[in-house]
Symmetry: C2
Subunit: 405 residues, 2 copies
């Protein structure tokens, strides 16, 4: 470092995913898009490789007035946005306690906020071993450490025993743990925690000797399955003890299929009004002292979509169509993989499927030779089924299964 | 604190400015907008109290395609945006060294970025005693301390002697200092550093025993005066020694008069390519690990505006009109104040004028009784001339001068 300060971070010279995606684009330019499988992109593309946008959303964007763009939004978001987020996040579930909402720049901002406000420098934040790589960067950026528990046991079930062991280990060192669970349609595996998994988690947290900020990253909830079904775990959160504060990380960018608008929210749900007010106070303070207010246009769009039942229905219907396309790709990918003697890490739904392997970098390099571009993780390879057609899912799964033999 | 962690921050229960602005809005609702002077708003309003938007910008927004909103922008911004920022920031000045640009959520994001990447936890960041209150919050949010030098001496000139004293004091403790200077059209005073001020700063930094990240917050540059004149200090920065890295905080939200779009950038300018590459690496890393990428639509608008000379001219002309309106308000405010035997902190241009006084809170309360709403700072009262008509500038200046007698 010359002028910059490393500050405990390990900053790579180059973003590997960015470089990989650059090579994929070059290959497409040279050989045509049919010849290349670019499964690196974390956005939903249609079968022709075009970014999916929703007519209901686009029409609403086009109806905005100049002031909708120009005016500062309040730090926590416009009142209509905060209402909309509650409808979008909770669906038909009505929390009995106190809910507070604060706008964040995408889902990423909500993770920054929970870490900055509910843990201390040097703390360990706990999450599943399969996790979005950026969890670690965000911890590191904030001087926190990331500890992990094994997400799955040897049978491929949720590993409650390891969660409990890691919780007890950390509880001996910290009076409070930020526990981050990304579900449903977990990135990168596509796993959705079952109601039984949730019972186990609640049991473990309720009897632990420390407090928890339980951060549930629901970025992919709207692509995980039917709206009511994927929210069935929410009422269970009301069984959590006074030592646990549930906090959601919500990504409106994904709900709207408008990633570039950077619209998300951090949302708490608690029986204790004072805890809710404290949440409001700290997350708004840190927002103001980090990025200030958020993109107003996106908030107005959310407000409009969820204020008009007909418009909301139109958006929900559109999204259901794309979601079914995505679910079909996922199930197809998994079936082809299985039919060819391989398997993926437990998968239910979402943008990604992951295949565990001993040498992900080598597997990635072999795939690249066949013009198949996937992101290598520490313990496996991640395939973005969101960004490739069903036909390419078949080819990709076959190629991976063959290489793993 | 119940679940939240104070983390060295002093988090107020309520945002005072927000509460004040709420009371101003209530007064307007009750008594009509002509009867109330709401000089709390940090955005440019026309003489009727309506938010100023630029036709060139609005037309460009309306020309965007769905993908312009929907697609993720690269972390550092789209190539066209990065080009546009250089044109917008530097105008006719062509830096001879290496420039790197990274998108940030508004000007606030650029401040977060420089502090997170160019200072360490526990460090002192140095700025002028008159400063945007959020500087302190951002330091505090990042575990840094804010040290200040007296911006002005007793004659109302730039206080180079105190800057030098404070630099030497900190240089004894730190090997590097982030020095933040907000100019031209400084918030909250409206002061623009002169070329002589800059000579003094450059002399002090070049002979100091430590390194500097010299952060120049130019958020209000496009409202400070004629484009070339307000950039005359820029070539001087090339006289800085190897121990100083100049970094700009740029606010496209203000250039576009589209605050709600949250579009800004952090920009470095250095003779050393390695230092430039290091800048790119660390600011992109911290962006990804804090808010990820930024609002793409705003980037596309910037890209289009600055790629088309005619469109840029149209925007520049529009802005000049509003800027002249603003400059006229400022000069009028200052004159009325002086004519009534009072004076403001040295003022040149910009959104705000500040009047020093012994008990700002009491002065603010007295003004509020007359339905004049201004923000009380530690050492004075801040009047947003950006948000009130020339007529109200006269009334406000008269009222303040009278109360100060």
């Amino acid at each position: 470092m010359i002028f910059a300060k490393e500050n405990g971070r390990t900053i790579p010279k180059e973003d590997k995913v960015f470089a990989l995606s650059g090579r994929a684009k070059e290959a497409i330019a040279a050989k045509g898009k049919d010849a290349v499988i670019n499964a690196t992109i974390g956005a939903l593309l249609d079968d022709e490789g075009e970014l999916v946008t929703m007519t209901s959303v686009v029409d609403t964007i086009m109806s905005l007035t100049p002031t909708d763009y120009a005016e500062y939004a309040p730090i926590a978001g416009t009142p209509a946005f905060k209402e909309a987020v509650q409808k979008a996040l909770f669906g038909n579930f009505k929390p009995s306690g106190h809910v507070r909402v604060c706008a964040t720049p995408g889902g990423t901002g909500s993770i920054t906020s929970v870490i900055a406000n509910y843990s201390e420098v040097g703390d360990f934040v706990l999450t599943h071993d399969w996790c979005w790589a950026n969890y670690k960067n965000i911890c590191s950026q904030n001087g926190r450490n990331l500890a992990t528990f094994s997400f799955f046991d040897d049978e491929g079930n949720f590993n409650a025993a390891d969660l409990e062991a890691k919780v007890n280990e950390l509880a001996a060192k910290q009076d409070q743990i930020v526990l981050m669970l990304n579900t449903p349609a977990h990135n990168p595996t596509g796993y959705s925690m079952t109601l039984e998994d949730w019972d186990a988690v609640i049991g473990i947290l309720n009897k632990a000797s420390c407090r928890f900020a339980l951060f549930i990253d629901v970025a992919y909830i709207d692509y995980a399955g039917e709206d009511d079904e994927v929210r069935e775990f929410m009422p269970k959160l009301e069984e959590l003890g006074d030592n646990v504060l549930p906090i959601f990380g919500y990504s409106a960018s994904k709900t709207l299929a408008a990633y570039g608008m950077r619209c998300g929210a951090i949302v708490c749900m608690t029986k204790d009004e004072e805890t809710a007010e404290e949440f409001k106070k700290v997350v708004e303070y840190s927002a103001r002292a980090t990025w200030s207010n958020c993109n107003r246009a996106a908030q107005v769009v959310m407000g409009k979509l969820y204020a008009e039942p007909e418009l909301q229905k139109k958006a929900d219907d559109e999204r259901r169509g794309y979601r079914n396309m995505l679910l079909d790709r996922g199930k197809t990918f998994e079936k082809v993989l299985n039919d060819n003697g391989a398997k993926c890490v437990p998968f239910d739904a979402g943008f990604f499927v992951t295949i565990a392997c001993d040498d992900p970098a080598a597997l990635g390099a072999e795939l690249e030779k066949q013009d198949i571009y996937c992101v290598s993780l520490a313990k496996g390879i991640r395939v973005s089924i969101a960004s490739i057609s069903k036909e390419k899912c078949v080819k990709c799964a076959e190629a991976i299964a063959k290489l793993l033999k």
